[in-house]
């Protein structure tokens, strides 16, 4: 283990604002992204909080359906494109891809910085759209509502997502090329940590699906500006075409949101079970399978939109198939924990929470993939609950798990462990209280996206809103104690968890060039039994 004092950490390599804003260091760009992402997470979260506030009363406490529509649109747009899609890749991914590969940086560092500026530009435009009055279209921008009838700042919102898309493409392209070309000597594909494989699968989706969304939004903007266009049924265009193109991106995009989370969990479970990851190759190929099959299931968003029965049958079947690789992963994580020496540190608590919540979200997804059940459940709170179990219970938990796990590596400081565990438990409880009642509401037939509801749904909605309050506390806690740890946290050693992986062989925080000597990889990943044996000698 090298002495951190001898080398300059990346945090000390220039302290001016300029040295941050013009940096091409992947680690610094990751930090820039964390700041930005955190802002958007709380902005989107604030909108969610107001939504739950409104739904405390059956008549709606905000008093205006218009405002309510704008709130859930803002929540969806900010959370999807400015938090969920980029969150893990641009923060943990940016920081860790070169470190895990044994490389000095990503293949295209300037492109990496450009992606951050694009993201920020997109964010500014999105905030302009929000502050200027917002949009009332939902995050899905369905035509002809968006192209002809909607009143809000649709163009601004569309431009924001268009720009953010190119930021995603830049990141995905950078990751793919880096993983192909910048692996350290001896780092064969099957020696790569699963986190890298999952980011690879994610990047493939980003690179191949995002351009389709970009063009679709451009066509939408054209139609709205000129009052004529390809989705307009009056001249023989087709609104369903928009839905096809939109979901061709947006369904794979939900795998963009969840796959990196799978990667994070696959790192944490072995580290805190002191065991090799069970069925490494199955986990790896499950990621790839999800990326591939994920491209073929978009039609299940349109079962009631008037597509043909035969296409619906095929999409239903394919949607079942995409569940299989996810299930493989869940079984592998549980098998990894089986007979392990499990430690319940905060990252592991989040990871275990992830398994439970993601599995709930995944299994309820099967209800929706079933053609007959979906006709009943679609457009109800059942869908909202399913989506949030996967995205918030799954993805956000995974992000927090990873943030805590690699926090010592990124900052050089330990976070306060008791606070970390408390946060993880509060979030788990708050989350379930918020979203489990929504499964019941959906089953009972409460439609989504309405600002008022019949009296008999009041009790469950009240529970859900109470849960949101607890969830809010759970999310604000880490903001406090993680910030505190930057100033007062105990200094972290190079490898505080005793984890495997090249990122733990360099100092915490790492020096600018990552490794003084390019590492040579001889071992398969996750050799925890061997690591233990060495420790006990």
């Amino acid at each position: 283990m090298r002495d951190a004092a001898v080398q300059h950490s990346y945090l000390d390599d220039g302290r001016t604002l300029r040295s941050w804003l013009l940096t091409t260091d992947h680690k610094r760009i990751a930090i820039l992204y964390i700041v930005a992402i955190t802002f958007f997470f709380f902005a989107g979260g604030f909108a969610a909080f107001l939504i739950r506030y409104n739904l405390i009363s059956p008549k709606g406490l905000i008093g205006s359906a218009e405002t309510y529509n704008r709130l859930f649109s803002m929540h969806g747009i900010l959370m999807v494109w400015f938090f969920l899609v980029p969150a893990v890749p641009v923060t943990l991914g940016n920081f860790l891809v070169p470190l895990m590969l044994g490389a000095r940086d990503l293949a295209f560092p300037r492109l990496n910085l450009l992606s951050w500026y694009l993201f920020m530009a997109a964010g500014v435009v999105a905030l302009y759209a929000v502050v200027g009055g917002g949009v009332d279209t939902g995050w899905t921008f369905y035509t002809p509502l968006t192209s002809f009838y909607s009143q809000g700042h649709v163009i601004a919102a569309v431009v924001a997502i268009f720009i953010a898309g190119f930021s995603s493409i830049a990141t995905g392209l950078n990751f793919i090329v880096t993983i192909h070309k910048l692996r350290a000597p001896g780092m064969t594909w099957y020696k790569m940590p699963v986190f890298l494989w999952s980011l690879y699968a994610t990047s493939v989706i980003l690179v191949l699906a995002t351009p389709v969304l970009a063009m679709t939004l451009l066509l939408l903007a054209f139609e709205r500006i000129f009052g004529i266009g390809v989705f307009d049924p009056a001249i023989g265009g087709d609104p369903l075409l928009f839905q096809h193109l939109f979901w061709f991106y947006s369904h794979p995009a939900v795998y963009v949101m969840i796959l990196p989370g799978f990667g994070v969990i696959s790192e944490i479970i072995p580290a805190f079970s002191r065991k090799e990851l069970f069925g490494y190759k199955f986990v790896v190929w499950a990621s790839i399978a999800i990326a591939v099959i994920g491209f073929l299931v978009w039609g299940h968003h349109m079962f009631v939109a008037g597509t043909s029965l035969y296409s619906a049958l095929v999409f239903s079947l394919l949607s079942y198939m995409v569940a299989a690789p996810s299930a493989i992963k869940v079984f592998n994580w549980i098998a990894t924990m089986h007979k392990g020496y499990i430690r319940f540190d905060a990252p592991m608590l989040y990871a275990i929470g992830f398994i439970g919540l993601f599995t709930t979200g995944g299994l309820t997804g099967l209800f929706l993939a079933a053609l007959a059940a979906d006709v009943h459940l679609t457009q109800t709170y059942f869908v909202v609950a399913h989506f949030h179990y996967v995205m918030v219970g799954g993805m956000v938990s995974a992000y927090f798990a990873g943030l805590h796990f690699w926090w010592p590596k990124m900052t050089g400081h330990m976070y306060p462990e008791m606070w970390g565990r408390a946060g993880a438990i509060i979030i788990f409880v708050g989350f379930n209280l918020t979203f489990f009642p929504q499964f019941l509401l959906g089953y009972l037939g409460m439609p989504r996206r309405y600002f008022a509801y019949p009296q008999h749904f009041e009790a469950l909605n009240l529970l859900s809103s109470a849960g949101a309050l607890i969830l809010a506390v759970g999310y604000i806690l880490p903001l406090g104690y993680l910030t505190w740890s930057l100033l007062y946290g105990e200094r972290a050693s190079a490898n505080p968890w005793g984890a495997t992986g090249l990122e733990w062989t360099t100092a915490s925080p790492p020096p600018t060039e990552n490794f003084a000597v390019t590492p040579i990889v001889t071992q398969a990943p996750y050799q925890y039994r061997q690591a233990e044996a060495v420790n006990h000698e």
């Binding site: 940086d105 990503l106 493409i169 392209l173 699906a209 389709v212 004529i228 390809v230 001249i235 023989g236």
Partner: protein, 213 residues
């Protein structure tokens, strides 16, 4: 980057850096292909729904200019290819000359497309909207055809303009390039040729299919 063997610190060698750059541009072109994909898909899909109206629209296009422009673009890519081959032999002045030809041919495309063809079409009232000049049963389908036409050619033209900028940049920077070290020439060349590929799909969609029946 002044030294021929120089490379950025994340790469093991200049060769490593070159290979990585080439991988990057190919992947970028894959994203570009998918970027244009929805236009082609929607176009074919919409045509399939109302082929006779699309034919009416398609016959109002100027096949002569379309053919001339296709020739210009292919010739331009050929010229670029010659320039790229010449720098491979270290013949920098030859490269500059052929790249200048490639640039001029590309600029001629822009001039013909927007200066002549678009102008005529706009003056004939072919831009979709209230003043659209085709009437009768084919009116709405022909409007859709021209919506696609203006949208796609504008976007293609924008790509070409960016390409002209990149070509100019290569020509200005020509001093940097040697037989061993000319990755940017290669990278820009791939992009330049890709713009042709997009055009080769647009060309039949615009000019040929409507005239086929």
């Amino acid at each position: 980057m002044s030294d021929a063997a120089a490379h950025e610190f994340q790469f093991a060698s200049a060769e490593h850096q070159r290979e990585t750059a080439i991988s990057g541009i190919w992947l970028f072109l894959a994203t570009e292909a998918l970027f244009f994909g929805p236009i082609f898909l929607s176009w074919i899909f919409a045509r399939h729904a109302d082929p006779s109206a699309f034919d009416v629209g398609g016959r109002r296009t100027d096949l002569t200019i379309g053919l001339a422009n296709t020739a210009l673009l292919i010739a331009s890519s050929f010229a670029y290819g010659v320039g790229l081959a010449l720098i491979g032999f270290g013949r920098r002045r030859g490269m500059v000359a052929w790249l200048a030809i490639a640039w001029a041919l590309g600029a001629a495309f822009i001039g013909l497309k927007f200066g002549v063809e678009w102008r005529t079409e706009l003056s004939e009232g072919l831009f979709p909207g209230a003043h659209f000049s085709i009437h009768g049963p084919a009116r709405s389908g022909a409007q859709l055809f021209f919506a696609f036409y203006f949208f796609a050619t504008a976007l293609h033209g924008l790509h070409l303009l960016i390409g002209l900028g990149l070509l100019a940049w290569i020509i200005i920077q020509a001093e940097r390039f040697t037989a061993e070290n000319h990755t940017p020439v290669h990278v820009v060349g791939l992009y330049w040729t890709f713009i042709d590929v997009i055009w080769l799909i647009l060309f039949p969609l615009i000019y040929l299919i409507g005239r086929a029946s």
